[in-house]
């Protein structure tokens, strides 16, 4: 019973992170119809920028207790940095290809991803050494329910994700910008005829998606303080799983991304706890293939007929 609940807590908290990253994939896919491969690298940079900011401000001292204020500051810095980066990437790499075939945009995205990883690896930037994220949040057990320890980090992760999700939901469905985003996603050409500034909306989408990924990066680094080197396979794998979450939930659908993220987190942790911990990735990708075969539009998406 304890094991079950503990797995549930871990699954939900990591699932929330997957959902947060998946939002970036799903928003970009909804509008531009391509997989932004560089998204997992934005997520990686989110974690690394949090680390660098925390270190630069002298908060890396393990004796010093962290506080919520510091954590929020670092979070905001990472989100700002990655938001700007997302804007630049879209402007320089993707905008020239607005009319190009989707395959070309996909290859460009892979190029951007490789570029970020390998630039990050340069010794005078992030280096090739793994680092340890300072604990900005006190690493304590918040409460114990039926012998299950709920750590403060997990609570912070879940609450932050819920707040960000709520904000995004409000933005997309209740504001003018959100309406423009939905219009562009529905039909770019018609939206531009109706006076929606398509390029600006796409930029905004990238900024939002990237800052959400940065937030996920910060939260991930707080939960798992061991930061791998920028080009390490774990980052790409995490990004890929988040993409799987977006596909499973129904790509282009914001709630679907969150649902998919939770599902992937659960499958990963329950599979690891009850079947074999080494085959985590296998479960996730098998789920992807299964969903694509049975319901290609995702569990919550609506099937789209491709017209000539």
């Amino acid at each position: 019973m304890t094991k079950l609940l503990q797995t549930l807590v871990d699954g939900v908290s990591v699932g929330c992170l997957y959902g947060l990253i998946a939002l970036g994939y799903t928003m970009v896919y909804g509008i531009l119809k391509f997989i932004n491969f560089a998204h997992s690298d934005i997520f990686m940079l989110g974690a690394w920028v949090s680390f660098i900011v925390a270190r630069a401000l002298g908060w890396a001292n393990p004796d010093q207790p962290g506080s919520l204020g510091k954590a929020l500051f670092v979070l905001a810095a990472a989100m700002l940095f990655c938001g700007v980066l997302g804007f630049i990437i879209e402007r320089l790499a993707y905008r020239p290809l607005r009319r190009a075939p989707r395959l070309n945009v996909l290859i460009t995205a892979i190029g951007v991803s490789l570029f970020i990883q390998n630039t990050g690896q340069l010794p005078w930037l992030l280096g090739t050494q793994p680092q340890r994220m300072p604990a900005l949040l006190p690493d304590s057990t918040l409460l114990t329910v039926a012998e299950v320890q709920i750590r403060q980090v997990d609570v912070v992760v879940i609450i932050t994700v819920l707040v960000l999700m709520g904000a995004l939901e409000w933005l997309v469905h209740r504001t003018k910008v959100g309406r423009a985003m939905r219009a562009v996603s529905f039909d770019t050409r018609v939206a531009s005829l109706m006076g929606v500034p398509v390029d600006r909306v796409i930029s905004i989408t990238f900024v939002i998606g990237s800052s959400l990924a940065a937030a996920a990066g910060f939260l991930y680094a707080s939960k798992y303080p061991g930061l791998n080197q920028p080009a390490h396979a774990t980052w790409i794998l995490l990004g890929l799983k988040a993409f799987v979450a977006a596909v499973v939930g129904g790509i282009g659908d914001i709630r679907g991304a969150m649902f998919g993220g939770l599902l992937i987190g659960m499958i990963e942790f329950f599979g690891a706890a009850y079947l074999s911990p080494h085959l985590k990735d296998v479960y996730v990708f098998s789920l992807l293939i299964l969903v694509l075969l049975v319901r290609p539009a995702g569990l919550m998406g609506k099937p789209v007929l491709e017209k000539v």
């Binding site: 290859i107 951007v112 993409f243 293939i289 694509l292």
Partner: protein
């Protein structure tokens, strides 16, 4: 009706000429590989011989991936997965097969598989290993092709970008499963008693499959390069190749023309996986490499994709050219190795923005030359 048959007959070359023209490239290929092996290699520095080997393997990989990514316009980024499947199959066959046949896994080859590292060279023309190794390569290719069918059949119903993710996921699944296998058996007696399943599951796990005999010589590598090139080129000029290209140009229009797109996509995928498996087998039996799941992750897949994209999507000679350049370049620019991938990444982005079809596009090197001679000739595309 009669008129058409007569005209058809005129267009058909005689049987002898047809046989000759289909066999000739292979003969030339074998001869070239043989010359490379016997005359060129002994005069070369071992380092350059190794580079020649790497070039050969990368050419096979790039051209085979070009069948899917270039010709058919699909986007697979799990090529290293097929390479791993083929490599491990062949390695299992040569390692455990040698034990069964000769009681040890040392080099049992003749002249054709001889690389300078094998001191057990028996001096015969066709030693045991000379027969075992190509068979193992073929088996590796076939198993990889079967895997290509299994992966391709469901996932090729998906649109391009989903396919990319599924192939990437497949590559990862292969890697994880190989990492979970047990250590290689080293005890000769234990191996004699081991069943097939025991052999297949004891391939080294994360540490890699060590103790393999080094059979990959310049002859075998370049022989398979020749076969790959001939198959790819003849395919491009055939009905099948035209079907591939039509899918790449416009899938809906191709379907309207009566091309069963899924079936053709699966064929391209299976063929491409076959050659990836062969390349993996060659890679596994190379001097100085350990067959290791870490080497065959998505980084490797990306390397191959870069070759295909830079060389030209659908150009065989372009892929060859890119494979050669991208194999030699890092050796020349060792001191800039940190910047190598950054330069590749920038090249990839700039290429997509400035010249989306890659360096040569659909054309071949000789097309450019031919069209210069005859300005009115239409291009291959």
């Amino acid at each position: 009706m009669a008129g058409t048959t007569e005209r058809g007959r005129d267009l058909q070359p005689g049987r002898a000429a047809a046989t000759l023209s289909s066999v000739l490239p292979l003969v030339i290929g074998i001869a070239a590989a043989y010359v490379l092996h016997t005359y060129v290699k002994p005069r070369l520095d071992p380092f350059y011989a190794k580079v020649l080997l790497d070039i050969g393997i990368n050419v096979i990989l790039a051209v085979s991936l070009s069948l899917v990514n270039g010709f058919t316009g699909q986007f697979s980024i799990g090529h290293a997965g097929f390479m791993a499947v083929g490599g491990y199959t062949a390695a299992t066959i040569t390692y455990y097969g040698s034990h069964r046949l000769w009681g040890n896994a040392q080099f049992h080859g003749g002249f054709l598989s001889w690389t300078q590292a094998n001191d057990l060279f028996e001096g015969t023309w066709l030693g045991g290993g000379d027969l075992l190794f190509p068979l193992a390569c073929l088996a590796g290719g076939l198993v990889a092709a079967g895997m290509g069918y299994v992966v391709g059949l469901p996932s090729l119903r998906l649109r391009g970008d989903y396919l990319a993710i599924v192939t990437l996921g497949f590559g990862e699944i292969v890697r994880v499963i190989i990492q979970r296998t047990d250590d290689v058996l080293y005890d000769a007696e234990e191996i004699q008693q081991a069943g097939l399943w025991t052999c297949v599951t004891h391939v080294g796990g994360a540490l890699g499959f060590t103790g393999l005999p080094f059979y990959t010589s310049l002859f075998w590598t370049w022989l398979f390069v020749a076969i790959t090139l001939i198959v790819a080129y003849r395919l491009k000029e055939s009905t099948h190749g035209r079907a591939f290209l039509s899918i790449r140009e416009d899938e809906i229009a191709a379907e309207a023309m009566g091309i069963v797109t899924t079936s053709y996509k699966v064929r391209a995928f299976v063929l491409s996986a076959f050659f990836a498996g062969v390349a993996g087998s060659l890679f596994a039996h190379q001097v100085g490499t350990t067959l290791n799941p870490r080497e065959l992750g998505f980084q490797k897949s990306f390397d191959i994709v870069i070759m295909v994209v830079l060389g030209g999507m659908g150009s065989i000679s372009g892929s060859v050219l890119a494979a050669v350049v991208l194999t030699v370049l890092p050796e020349v620019l060792r001191t800039f190795s940190e910047y190598r991938m950054i330069v590749y990444a920038l090249l990839l982005i700039l290429m997509m923005i400035l010249r989306p079809q890659g360096l040569l596009g659909l054309r071949e090197l000789w097309d450019a030359w031919a069209s210069r001679r005859r300005p009115k000739a239409t291009g291959a595309g």
